[in-house]
Amino acid sequence: MRSIDDSLFTRTSDVPALTRKEKLVRTVDRSLYAPLAVIVRDWRGLIGGTIIALFVFFGTIGTSLVDKPTMMEGPIFLSPFTNWEYPLGTGVMGQDILEQVIHATPAMLQMVLAGALLSVTLGTLIGTVAGYRGGTTDKVLMMATDVVLTIPGLALIIVLASIYQPESPIVVGLILGIDNWPKLARTIRSQVLSIREESYTEASRIMGLSQFHILRKDVISNLMPYISVNFANSARLIIFESVGLYFLGILPFTTLNWGVMMNEAYAGADLTSMQEIHWLLVPMALIMIVSLGFILFAQALDRIFNVRLRARHEKTAGGDAQ
């Protein structure tokens, strides 16, 4: 028979306090090393991650490493992979296509970031609040979501773009992000509906923690897989839509981007000639590669947020995770 002092409720644990260095090592291991290890060991994550890393690299630093494309810097309509001074060939004015493509990346990157961030933020916020609060708030927010879901998004975007004539890539991204959030909001809401019934959320509520705290710690941390996968998906959609609108010339040509390149090539190259068509095919291939990168990366992200899988890669994790 145990004494009262040794009972379950009075025992205190004797975990040794960690030193600062140990804490730092643990943080780095858990939040940096383990996710990276999961990504690198999954071939989809490796390929997708590399593509996205290259995309970001050329969108930020890459432009300062490569010269700006100029007219008549090379021969006209050089086929790709024939002359290594112009690896992807040249266009009608003799401009280097590789340089054009690289200098078009920053605009694409800004559009994607602005649009995907907007749609993810809106979707998460509306989905969480609607699912957690329930009642009238839920009804009103879901009504709004349904309205946006059923209004043809591309038509609305085109109307907005024609009135505003947005020039900055960031504004273009924000406009394109408007119709991407309702699906995420619906998914998140249905997830929140099940999370709010979980015992740990119930416990936090009984403990009298603030609603903001519960939403942040108990609810949103469980939604990260959906949020990040949706980020990758809406990034892909924004690339598709923006390139399409620039290609048709609906958005004003202020910055060089892949849609503008396609537009110029479609109008300027003889499309029946194999000698000239690469001008159009290069930006098309890039769109496909980058969106493949986003798709693969989204699938790999699924694995990062799988707790058991991540624990297997953590060095500091103990217990049965091995």
Partner: protein
């Protein structure tokens, strides 16, 4: 109750869409209405005189015939009149560029848009459902892996790239299909074979492109089928000696279809919007093409009218899908009984 709620919701969304166009027209500083008014006033100023109150009234009247909004009235009165004109009299204003009522222009172009969109969607959905089921039944085979890879690659290709490439290959290079128009100009419209062949030939490439665009559902349907096939009731049905075909269609197919059905409905909303891009690439003179030209001409009454039209068609499509949802899933009932915090 479910039906009443659905219909009510569609009407509400339609009114909101009309409100959005009104807000864009009227509320924005230097929005379309104000720009039109300034343009008309400038014409008077060029003639040498600043407009008199009478002429101002005339300008406001002209703005109203074009946009359906009288700028001299307070916004709530013009809002009421704008909605009344559209709902009761189908008056969307007049096109500035074509000098024709917007409704007539769009109404004539609409059937062609619906024609290629619906065929693209129907073909894409049927084929992807069949392939999805085929993949599920041959899970792990070479057919399954091959098609899975193809579907993933397919999602990386935007539909307009498919459109451009098919146009370049089959029209510019091989010359099998025409590169623009919607019928053969040498034939007489009506029920005769040359005319129908012409129409089919012109629609083939746009339909093919939207078919490829609508193909994505195969993987989702495959996943659902595999999940359903592992359920206990399928095994029970097999033990009861129910025929394989009946199990595949009535048991697996029907239950696996439910989650996909909603995403097909969502696809409708994207479909008519994407017709603006597709029809422009194929020079197919239907609603999307009209809208695109209106954009180039800054013909705001036509742009706004097209937006309302697109919304109305999409809503109608989704409503039909919603109302038929009860046929494949008898459990539909609205409302929930959760507690609110």
């Amino acid at each position: 109750m479910y039906y009443a709620k659905r219909i009510g919701q569609s009407i509400l969304v339609f009114l909101i869409a009309v409100t959005v166009t009104f807000a864009l027209y009227r509320m924005l500083p230097f929005g379309p209405v104000e720009m039109l008014k300034i343009q008309l006033m400038q014409q008077f100023i060029e003639q040498g005189s600043s407009p008199t109150p009478e002429q101002m009234a005339k300008i406001n009247g002209m703005v109203q015939t074009y946009t359906g909004i009288d700028p001299s009235q307070p916004w709530y009165i013009s809002y009421y009149e704008y909605i009344r004109d559209i709902v009761l009299y189908q008056d969307f204003g007049r096109s500035i560029f074509k000098q024709e009522p917007v409704f007539t222009i769009l109404f004539k172009a609409m059937p062609w848009s619906i024609f290629i969109s619906i065929y693209g969607l129907a073909l894409g959905t049927t084929v992807s459902l069949l392939l999805g089921a085929g993949m599920a039944y041959t899970e792990g085979s070479r057919f399954d892996t091959g098609l899975t890879i193809f579907s993933i690659i397919n999602t990386t290709v935007p539909y307009y790239v498919v459109a451009i490439l098919t146009l370049i290959i089959f029209s510019f290079n091989l010359g099998w299909f025409p590169s623009g128009g919607r019928m053969d100009p040498a034939t007489t419209p009506g029920i005769n074979l040359p005319f129908i062949i012409g129409v089919v030939k012109h629609a083939a490439l746009p339909v093919f492109s939207s078919f490829i665009a609508g193909f994505g559902g195969a993987l989702a349907f495959r996943g659902n089928c595999i999940r359903e096939m592992g359920e206990g009731y399928i095994r029970v049905a097999q033990l009861r000696g129910i025929s394989k075909g009946r199990i595949a269609i009535r048991y697996v197919g029907r239950n696996a279809l439910l989650p996909v059905y909603t995403s097909i409905m969502m696809g409708l909303a994207g479909l008519f919007g994407s017709s603006i891009i597709l029809e422009t690439i194929f020079n197919y003179p239907a609603m999307g093409y009209v809208t695109f030209n209106a954009l180039l001409n800054r013909d705001y009454p036509l742009i706004m009218g097209a937006f309302i039209f697109f919304t109305a068609i999409t809503l109608l499509g989704i409503l039909v899908a919603d109302l038929t949802y009860g046929i494949i899933d008898p459990r539909v009932k609205g409302g929930s009984n959760r507690e609110a915090y």
